[in-house]
């Protein structure tokens, strides 16, 4: 039996089962393999498989100093136990930043009100968005960002609302497309509604906010902005806001999630089981006061991050609000001190005890994807020092920093 070569479509099949680290290493095998792996069709196939199998599932903790995020740790969840072992140090491409959102293995970071970066931590690549000031106005504007996948156009987008508090100007809406690497203005007007909560929830090409009519405190709606059609739509929410409770939007397990935080009593979580169908709001779990040892002083609410592999538990981020810090650019200074596994059947929560966790942190969740393979490399500090061209790198770094300083000044 003569040994013929394995045909390319089978090689692609085999490669699509590999984790990101192996794929990156195998870029070196041959030019053909480089082309196979970096092909956009393959990247998509590999991503879909990662999503199906939760491959390379990773939780990233960036340490928080009460104000912003810095370096952090990366925990791989590929085994069945959902354990937090094998911490690996991770260096984001931006320091003193905030985590905006994450999707398909990409994490969106924000620094100040203009520096936005899309980062693939598992690939150690990133892309910095070009600076884009709001149209013809003074310095008094505040941004609100959202990061979302636009599957209809095979794209990932950053949405920016520019709010002008001291002028009568309408909210300016702009969208950055990772595919075209350009900002574009959205013609559609922001509806005549007030935002209840700055943190939006993005899912499947739609960005969501909780909004209400001006001055109305006891009724909210769900405002949805479709990135493909660039149109707004309103939906009802399952629970109305009240004095003793707070409502929020999250995304969990691929569903739009509505969270009711009844102060010092419980966290109620609802899913929109069938997207767009208001009657499909279903309560998924409720965390009672006794379920976890709560500390009420600075504690805000439990942010759901992801389900365990068997779907029986939810990983929660215990959110603490830093009351000492002023709200900066409408980004609340919220950080986390604990991660908790909440068992929905047993209705019991257990804190993750891990000595390597930073004191305070923010979390992002990733899966294995090759998106941004053509992006810029994130240089780890140790790698910088170990490289033979250390002198050149240090010089380039110094020039970079000088340029940044000059821009900011």
């Amino acid at each position: 039996m003569s040994h013929s070569h394995i045909p390319p479509e089978l090689i692609t099949n085999i490669l699509s089962h590999l984790p990101v680290k192996s794929l990156v290493r195998f870029l070196c095998v041959s030019r053909q393999w480089y082309d196979l792996i970096s092909d956009s069709g393959f990247v998509k196939k590999q991503l879909n498989r990662s999503v199906e199998t939760n491959r390379d599932r990773t939780v990233i903790l960036l340490e928080h100093d009460g104000s912003h995020c810095g370096n952090g740790l990366c925990f791989n969840f590929d085994d069945d136990e959902d354990q937090f072992c094998n911490a690996v140090k991770i260096y984001p491409p931006l320091q003193h930043c905030d985590i905006l959102d994450c999707c398909d293995g990409l994490v969106c970071l924000l620094k100040g009100r203009e520096e936005v970066v899309i980062w693939n931590p598992l690939l150690r690549k990133y892309r910095k968005l070009p600076s884009e000031k709001p149209k013809g106005v003074t310095n008094f504007w505040f941004p609100q960002f959202a990061f979302c996948r636009d599957h209809q156009n095979d794209d990932y987008k950053v949405l920016r609302l520019a709010l002008f508090h001291y002028n009568d100007l309408p909210i300016e809406i702009k969208v950055y497309s990772l595919k075209s690497q350009r900002w574009k203005k959205v013609e559609e007007q922001w509806p005549n509604k007030d935002i209840c909560h700055w943190e939006s929830a993005s899912l499947d090409g739609v960005v969501h906010w909780l909004v209400a009519d001006y001055g109305v405190l006891d009724k909210e709606s769900l405002l949805a902005f479709d990135l493909a059609s660039e149109k707004f739509k309103l939906y009802t929410t399952p629970v109305s806001p009240d004095l003793n409770q707070e409502t929020r939007l999250e995304v969990l397990g691929g569903y739009l999630c509505f969270l009711v935080n009844v102060f010092e009593e419980y966290n109620d979580v609802w899913f929109m089981k069938e997207y767009g169908v208001e009657s499909s709001w279903t309560r998924i779990y409720k965390i009672e006061r006794d379920a976890v040892n709560w500390d009420f002083e600075l504690f805000e609410y439990y942010k759901p991050l992801m389900f365990s592999k068997n779907g029986k538990k939810v990983l929660l981020e215990e959110h603490w609000k830093n009351n000492a810090t002023l709200v900066e650019h409408n980004v609340e200074k919220i950080y986390s001190k604990n991660l908790i596994w909440y068992d929905m059947e047993k209705k019991q929560g257990k804190r993750v005890k891990n000595w390597s966790f930073p004191d305070a942190f923010r979390t992002a969740t990733c899966i294995g994807s090759l998106l941004l393979l053509d992006g810029d490399n994130v240089i780890d500090p140790w790698q910088r020092n170990a490289s033979p061209s250390e002198g050149l790198n240090l010089l380039l770094k110094a020039v970079d920093e000088l340029e940044n300083e000059m821009q900011e000044g």
Partner: protein
Amino acid sequence: MANGENQNPNPNPIEATPGAAARTITLKTADGEIFEVEEAVAMEFGTVKSFFEDDAVSATKPMPLPNVSGSALSRVITYCRRSLEIRSMIPPATSEDATAAEAVQGEGDLEAEKAAKQERKEFEAEFLKDESNEDVKELILAANYLNIKELLDFLCRSVALRIQNKSVEYARKFFGIEGDYTPEEEAQIRQEYAWAFEGVDED
């Protein structure tokens, strides 16, 4: 009883009773070996299935398989036979009497599915345990030629597992590929992605 026109790859469990006459199909490999295979198993091979669908050819004449060796076919048959057995552990999804009967069967079905899944996991773990890389490659090419999707997917997954933590040189050797970068190009890739080359198994 097995129907000559039966093209359903999932055998009715009732027909698997010993002693019942099952139709066989004769296959002839590249190295001249003759295999008589139960029709149900042979129909798992897409190539064989379309051969008998297209041509009203009698099943007595051996079908030639010029790209498959005897040893490979033997292994393939073992896999498909076992795979069919495992699949028959799960009661058919579509039942003539729906609703009430199905509701009762629900729990039992789930248990059966779980058991079947576990059987398959154990069987697949054992199947390739002692096979060399060359043997696995031969199996992949055979499964590809015979168009057996399930076996092919399993083999691809298995190869991926085998090479996952291996070096670039190992991958090249496995697939019989020559590295075609210039030394400078290769060094540049290795430096750019140095982190991906850490913690790799020794060759």
